[in-house]
């Protein structure tokens, strides 16, 4: 399942941990990222079906402050992924390291890469998360694991929901299925998004719209149906997640969207765990 990991030509990654899980394997890896200029960690759930050939792969982009562990430890995705024969990749949310730029706030800097390529100092040197996810880590995973490049989907939570929607809309040929939990669906209208975009991309808002899901879907909707779940008791709902803006944009653009508000649920992994089965089945159906 981990092909050529230690071949003599080059060591592309190191395996930090590996555990048997639901008949498959959960493994954690570290590699030197050119895009981010630092070592990056990611986790892979390899379903048992991968022993017999390449399987569909779903990329899970996490939210603010998270790394690979949150979704792998708390969502229970392995059970359904093992049943469906879907590989799941959980990258980190930013470059990390004492020598790298950071910010004291939880919503900026390390743990808050927003899945874009920064253009402003001091962030631009390392915070190249769009290139990292869509190019560098994609190539590494397709090379090292039994993931089918023609059957890739993308999903995420909160900041990672923004990432999933935008990276899908920018790369519909790469990510052929898409879903999100509690996405920041119109970051240009949300405090989290405005702060991150101004910091990483500069104050000229004309450079922001290429990274805003509601703007992107208006210009170029995708043929993939979008599934979104957001908790009805999510404290960030109105100010940061703004479902109405995204729903209106999708409607105007003719984008297929199933946006579900789940009554009584909040922004946490207790919410994600409750509905992740629906999301993985959505991806498996459309890949």
């Amino acid at each position: 399942m981990m092909k050529g990991e230690n071949n003599e030509d080059s060591i592309l990654m190191n395996t930090l941990s590996s555990w048997k899980s639901y008949g498959g394997t959960l493994s954690v890896h570290e590699h030197d990222s050119n895009a981010c200029g630092c070592a990056m960690q990611f986790a892979v759930f390899t379903p048992p079906q991968a022993a017999n050939g390449k399987v569909p792969v779903v990329w899970y982009l996490s939210g603010l402050t998270c790394n690979w562990s949150n979704v792998m430890e708390k969502s229970g995705l392995q059970r359904v992924a093992a049943e469906l024969g879907v590989m799941v990749i959980a990258p980190d949310t930013s470059p990390r390291g004492d020598a790298l730029p950071n910010d004291e706030a939880y919503d900026l800097g390390q743990g808050a890469g927003f899945y874009i390529d920064a253009t402003e100092a001091p962030w631009a040197t390392n915070f190249q998360m769009e290139t990292y996810i869509t190019r560098e880590l994609n190539e590494l995973v397709l090379k090292e694991f039994a993931a089918d490049p023609a059957r890739q989907g993308i999903m995420g939570h909160s900041m990672g929901g923004h990432g999933a929607l935008t990276l899908h809309l920018k790369n519909p040929q790469t990510y052929k299925s898409v879903s999100a939990f509690s996405p920041i669906a119109a970051p240009m209208q949300a405090p989290w998004g405005k702060k991150a975009f101004a910091t990483y991309l500069g104050s000229d808002e004309s450079n922001w719209s290429a990274h805003d899901a509601s703007q992107l879907v208006s210009g170029s909707p995708s043929k993939a149906p979008i599934l979104v779940d957001t908790g009805g008791s999510d404290g960030f709902l109105e100010e940061q997640l703004t479902p109405d803006i995204f729903i209106a944009a999708c409607k105007a653009a003719g984008q297929s969207l199933d946006y579900r508000i789940q009554d009584g649920y909040d922004h946490s992994y207790w919410f994600i765990a409750s509905f992740i089965e629906d999301h993985l089945r959505h991806h498996a159906k459309h890949l």
Copy 2:
């Protein structure tokens, strides 16, 4: 679901957190324990069926260093418990607090109560986990939640697997179903058990056997079938968990036992998550 929590007669517990999960509720509570002489926390998963009346309840006893959060965050039990209509209680593993006795080792003191009542100084004042679990917390839960006192089961992991087996064998009328992950099934023969028993109960081994599952089952097997899963790649298997001793004791005593060694799995929650559905179905079937 939380009856009389804030009634005017007495406040028995405070609710620290509450989240909707799989249509039910996960809640965390704190109360002043008389048995332990300190504030104690525990978590409750209340299935949606509890809105309509009392439901079966399964007690989950955690292993060394854990508190309520490990199993509730990492096992995914909520999904199956919500389907089956089973309440699950996750107590802490010991008294805790800066003013209480402790030990630097991970396998003694706070986080390592071993579900027995200590008789030795300085532990005896607070480390009364058997009384706490079987009496004090039991009464509190039956009073505050929609748990059916006639349908209680018990399970646990590692040190908590020892706790589940022993507390069931000592109280078969209270805990009518039982299962364990990776239990310390013959603690008198295992380094963890010997250290804890010598510390909490003193050096006279005649006082230990009432708290050793393999000894207990020899003297008084129960009518309940016991389900045990242990990972075949568990690094503690031979030295600490000693399945052979327990299996032989059950066989000699006529105790019904299904002890499964799961190939390739270790001692972690990745293992527990992979098989917890089987355990909850076992309890639901026998309650």
